[in-house]
């Protein structure tokens, strides 16, 4: 049953050095506040999993907390490249991270397989693609009925997944809505799951077939208004596109990056996120 606790406690209790961890969100509902808390607690040696590692993994890599990254698209969405990730892979600053690269389809299937308790995902993919030459975790199985060779990748089973969601009810059931991405799978595939939410309400008041995670699938809930910023929370606030554009400049320079992290992450607090969404709130 999910407890509602401060974010610092939720991170400290659920994320350990050396863990395999997913901070998931597909453009929408990216758990920035949780990632910043992990950075503040300096929890390192992590294997970071995410389909679309963007600003938060750029930050974690730049701060030296990542041992390895498993991903399918490492870009700043709508802006360009990830400069801290590049600096690590191209120049080894602050150290060279290992990486395991897949396609989106493979990662989506691998999360699905993780949620489904399977050891691997089977799908039709990677035909003619170069990744299967460089990634030994891309293998194949043969359909026992048609003889077709299908791609197989290992299921994703994080030690812990972090997601941000719109709201929880007082029993700890969590609602994710809008672009739901891979969040349900990230939670169900993980041994532990931590959810930051915009608010806690008496009643989720949603559709019977909406994406709801029952309280017994979640380890901890933390209320962090604005906790997805500069990503967005559908129905609460819009995406802060300017921040994504700015990140491209901040991350371009190692010193500027470190200074920004000091001011905006290391010396900041989860409560600061509520200020960052001022002016971005959507009419409700």
């Amino acid at each position: 049953m999910a407890k509602s606790i401060p974010l610092a406690q939720a991170v400290a209790e659920n994320l350990n050095p050396g863990d395999t961890v997913a901070f998931e969100g597909f453009t929408h509902l990216i758990p920035h506040a949780a990632a910043h808390e992990a950075i503040r607690q300096n929890i390192g040696d992590l294997t970071l999993i995410r389909m679309t590692p963007d600003v938060i993994y750029d930050q974690m890599i730049g701060m030296g907390l990542a041992k390895k990254i498993i991903f399918s698209y490492a870009g700043n969405p709508g802006v360009g490249l990830l400069r801290r990730l590049r600096d690590s892979i191209e120049n080894g600053w602050p150290h060279r991270i290992e990486f395991e690269e897949h396609s989106h389809s493979a990662m989506a299937n691998a999360y699905e397989a993780g949620a489904a308790g399977l050891p691997c995902a089977v799908f039709r993919g990677y035909k003619g693609a170069g990744l299967k030459e460089v990634n030994p975790n891309i293998r194949s199985v043969t359909c026992p009925f048609t003889g077709e060779e299908l791609a197989a990748v290992p299921a994703i089973r994080p030690d812990v997944s972090f997601i941000h969601a719109q709201k929880a009810d007082r029993k700890g059931n969590v609602l994710v809505e809008g672009i739901i991405g891979i969040q349900k799978e990230a939670v169900l595939a993980a041994r532990r799951a931590v959810v930051t939410v915009e608010e806690v309400v008496d009643d989720l008041g949603t559709h019977t077939n909406a994406c709801v995670l029952p309280n017994w699938t979640i380890s901890a809930i933390s209320v962090v208004p604005g906790g997805a910023h500069p990503s967005y929370a559908h129905g609460y606030y819009d995406r802060d596109n300017a921040s994504y554009l700015e990140w491209d400049e901040i991350a371009a320079d190692r010193d500027r990056f470190l200074a920004w992290m000091k001011t905006n992450v290391l010396e900041a607090d989860p409560a600061d996120f509520a200020d960052r969404i001022k002016g971005l709130e959507t009419a409700r």
Binding site: F123, A129, I180, N241
Partner: protein, 265 residues
């Protein structure tokens, strides 16, 4: 009713949009593909189905999204599904007629690299990677590619096979078990290219107004073939330009409006 006053970017977007029809189901990438798909929807193909890999099906944004997961894509969609469902039921399920891809590097057979420049393990430039591209390239009915011509992007040999086009040409797709058509159209800022029916090498079939064969060759890293019946791309009509420019203006205003002043978080 054409307008003489248009940019090569506008010509590229509008030429690409013309290739789309009402019955198409498009898997849309960000940037030029997104603009082309939405121009088609706002002009000659109002019933076209646009799908973004974030899970939004049948979306109809008033402004162009900055990312593939902007909120408006969801607000205007017929339905929004999870990412595993998107890749399993909709893409792999064979329900997408046209996949739109861009490229950092492209070869004459429509093979694409968006992964690395240089060696994979020790790259000169680490690019974002393929995202959905490897399976978009194999699962969609056909693939349209848009890109701005340059010798850096149109190369004789790509550094990495992010997604497979026609491989070494000919029946290479069939030989590796693909049943879809692969790249059937390349729209650049200078020309329209289509694969030779036999060799599958991209051939220029139409030059945009005012573009010469020389310009096309100078901005392409391989020896360009031109169709014997080479045509001139019809210039954008005033109506097409109006749709595109209105869309861009709305987009500029909307994304500008959501910026905060001076914030650095």
């Amino acid at each position: 009713m054409t307008s003489a006053d248009f940019t090569s970017d506008e010509m590229m977007t509008i030429a690409a949009s013309r290739a789309l029809s009402n019955s198409d189901v498009c898997f849309v990438g960000i940037g030029a593909p997104s603009a082309a798909c939405n121009v088609a929807r706002l002009s000659h193909a109002p019933d076209i189905t646009l799908i973004y890999e974030s899970g939004t099906i049948g979306t109809a944004p008033q402004v162009l999204p900055l990312s593939i997961g902007d909120g408006e894509l969801c607000d205007t969609a017929v339905t929004t599904v999870s990412v595993p469902e998107m890749f399993r039921y909709w893409l792999q399920g064979g329900r997408v007629t046209v996949g739109f891809l861009g490229a950092a590097q492209l070869d004459r057979f429509g093979n694409i690299n968006t992964t690395v420049i240089g060696d994979y393990d020790h790259p000169k430039t680490r690019l974002p990677g393929g995202g959905g591209a490897p399976e978009i390239a194999s699962s969609c009915g056909e693939i349209f590619i848009t890109l701005k011509q340059s010798k850096r992007s149109m190369v004789s040999k790509i550094d990495f096979f992010t997604s497979f086009g026609h491989g070494e040409g000919g029946d290479h797709r069939q030989r590796i078990g693909m049943t879809t058509r692969g790249p059937t159209l390349l729209v650049t800022d200078l020309a329209i290219w289509k694969p030779d029916p036999e060799t599958k090498e991209f051939v220029v079939t139409s030059l945009h107004p005012g573009v010469t064969r020389e310009t096309v060759q100078e901005t392409c890293g391989w020896s360009v073939r031109f169709a014997t019946d080479l045509e001139e791309t019809p210039a954008p009509t005033a109506a097409e330009l109006a749709v595109l420019r209105d869309l861009k203006a709305r987009t500029e205003k909307a994304h500008g409006g959501s910026k905060k002043n001076g914030a650095e978080s």
